[in-house]
Symmetry: C2
Subunit: 434 residues, 2 copies
């Protein structure tokens, strides 16, 4: 099989990446209240001759949309799709027969198998009427059947096709909070969890809340995952970049962040939040706990919201490094709700699960006032709720099979197989880069 691998065009990607930075949009918004009532009640010129409105052209679209760049799904993917179509309509027209899409982390598209237990539970929750059937015992593991019952019992009316609470099903949030507690050794509150369709909508939600105009800035690491530049552009804010240091393995120095913060302030930018991606994307670095403490102190001192992208928390491939959540770090420093505003993002798309298409994830929101929390809830509620399968999967990821469960051994074997394969490839990549 002759394959063409999309995602190796580094120069092209780097160029797109530069563009992201250069085009980071900004618009000055002055809010003014214009009551619709005035429009409703006083049709002052209903006899006016109609003039044709301009047709919809690119130039008449929201300029924030135009400025937004998203290289991950940009020109390279479009070219790949064109090539694929050419291969279909005219086989042999290129020097390869198949296109592998490596432009984004999408492991199951490249053959990674899902964790069986997770899929068993999802299937049973999708079609609960087979739970009582004898054939089901032969097809599904005992603990997947038990877990499906547990989950269904947490859903009012066992209705997996009903809208849930806008933060997600309470019982699933209980499970996730318990999983966070077990991971961190500090309490987690299910009311702080907002289940979302993957991490991306959660990031957009926070940007929507925090960005008022081009004068609001968000500190983002460079290199970054282009979601951040895209989301900041869409919401009309300013990306304030800070540079990771390649020489120290893409380390994050608070002195660098501080320097960029001050530079932004000098330009009249109000910096509202600091994005930290840990473990790093695309760099893969894992921050040392000491470094994390410095970042927490920095955000506390500067009054910045700490937006902690922790979706790669299971993807640590070297034994000497360990993932610590920013919540754990801040709690271990003695900081509580009143000290630091912290949002942690998690997703079912990464880790060993790689369930990108299921669109599951959550954010844990701590250190905001009740009034601000209400606003976050309101924004979540406008989209009603995230998809229930993704919600269930997010709970499974944070509470996989345990010792003694029928699936435990096969689960461990599947998980470890995937992680060791990822680790092997991570090392191979490092070798190639050097």
């Amino acid at each position: 099989m002759r394959r063409f691998v999309i995602g190796r065009g580094r120069n092209f990607l780097n160029r797109s990446h530069q563009q992201n930075l250069l085009s980071s949009s900004s618009s000055h918004c002055q809010s003014r209240f214009l009551s619709s009532t005035s429009v409703i009640d006083s049709p002052s010129s209903s006899s006016m001759a109609p003039t044709s409105s301009p047709a919809i052209t690119v130039d008449s679209l929201n300029p924030k949309v135009l400025k937004c760049e998203y290289a991950v799904r940009g020109e390279i993917v479009s070219i790949a799709q064109r090539l694929q179509q050419e291969l279909q309509t005219n086989p042999g027209s290129h020097s390869f027969d198949e296109i592998l899409y490596c432009n984004i982390g999408n492991p199951q598209s490249l053959g990674q198998q899902p964790i069986t237990f997770f899929r068993e539970v999802l299937a049973l929750c999708d079609h609960p009427s087979i739970l009582d059937r004898s054939e089901t015992q032969g097809l599904f593991s005992a603990d997947s059947i038990e877990r499906a019952w547990q989950i269904l019992d947490q859903i009012p009316g066992r209705a997996t096709g009903a809208y849930s609470h806008s933060q997600g099903i309470k019982g699933l949030r209980d499970t996730i909070a318990a999983g966070i507690e077990a991971r961190d050794g500090f309490p987690a509150d299910p009311n702080d969890i907002f289940l979302t369709d993957g991490a991306s909508p959660a990031v957009h939600m926070m940007m929507q809340l925090l960005i008022r105009s081009e004068n609001d800035g968000i500190l983002c690491p460079i290199p970054q995952y282009p979601l951040y530049s895209a989301s900041i552009a869409l919401h009309g804010g300013t990306l304030v970049p800070y540079y990771l240091d390649e020489a120290t393995g893409w380390g994050l120095e608070t002195s660098e962040v501080k320097k960029q913060l001050e530079a932004a302030k000098a330009k009249g930018i109000t910096v509202r939040a600091l994005v930290v991606i840990n473990p790093g994307n695309p760099t893969g670095q894992v921050l040392a706990e000491e470094n994390q403490r410095a970042i927490v102190d920095f955000c506390k001192k500067e009054g910045l919201v700490l937006l902690a992208d922790e979706v790669y928390q299971e993807n640590v491939y070297v034994p000497e490094k360990k993932f610590h959540s920013f919540k754990k770090v801040s709690r271990s420093m003695g900081y509580g709700e009143k000290d630091i505003s912290l949002v942690s993002f998690q997703s079912v798309s990464k880790g060993y699960y790689g369930e990108c298409g299921k669109r599951g994830g959550y954010m844990e929101v701590t250190g905001f006032s009740a009034e601000v929390r209400e606003q976050i809830y309101k924004v979540a509620s406008v989209n009603l709720c995230s998809n229930i399968s993704g919600q269930i999967l997010a709970s499974l990821v944070m509470s996989p099979p345990k010792v003694g469960d029928e699936s435990y051994e096969s689960y461990c074997a599947e998980r470890d197989g995937i992680l060791s394969s990822l680790a092997r490839r991570a090392k191979a990549n490092i070798g190639r880069c050097i």
Copy 2:
């Protein structure tokens, strides 16, 4: 069982509804390009003494978020949740034991059962490894197994856990386009379909594209579904209301729309689109074809995008009325791609399916230039893709079992049972209102 029904508080809801209109936000945005590079390259005051940034308070949030109201999940629901918690912690504390949430159409939370065939296919696609097992033949209908294979074969690598194309899996879009063609009798192009996590994100996407500032208006029916006022507020535009006429069964008169359009123009508002909800929400009216033709001509003449909310297309309860899609109507008038910009929204949450929690839906986008289409695609791509289960369900809804399929009879019985029950209750409600 003593029940308290949420959603009967008409006065309260009406009041909230008024508030939606009154607070429909508007903000004047002047776009200015501020290159991030200037922030990157010239840290002009890195030695400046740090001053503490303001903490995150409600007053420092995005004012568009503050102005947005969403009554469907607003104060009534919060009160209900408080009451429910009180009932749990202190049974007997109220004169009722259970709370029924009727504040939003969420039929499965009130006991409506999902269509078995749909759930069979979803379960099999979630856990394809049981497709070859003999027990599966006894548990699942033959056509659900066949359909699951068909769908899996449309997904590269049969990977239901992989990100799909940002518009959705091509094979599912083919099925949906074929369903639209069968419904309308006019061609539908799978490349015009954007699969989304329910209709709400699709509506937000169009608002994000069309609204540049408070000077851009969107014509919306009153009464409306509050998603529209919420989305317009979040994107900083102006809601231009037009009133449905209760006397003619909530009819839509183009003269009224025209009057409001002119009034808005006189105030300096550029009206960009007309939202039509057909069948109506919350009014239930079904537009006559003649009326639809007048609306199409109006939008064509005025250069407005027609945003057709057609999610209730299966919910017509009187034999003398029939649903016609706006695309069918415009094509039957001889209008093609160059004549009218039209977006049709569909959802798996409504109809007889009522699969709200699955978050599936699509928009069919016609009559936009290739350049504008690219921008729509870009915005869709920033969220990667909609959830695959929702995508599959959207294809099933547009292509249910057919005569001769094993599930056909049971499918018809389930569908007709749900629709006749909904029709019975619609009539009972009309009786109560009179």
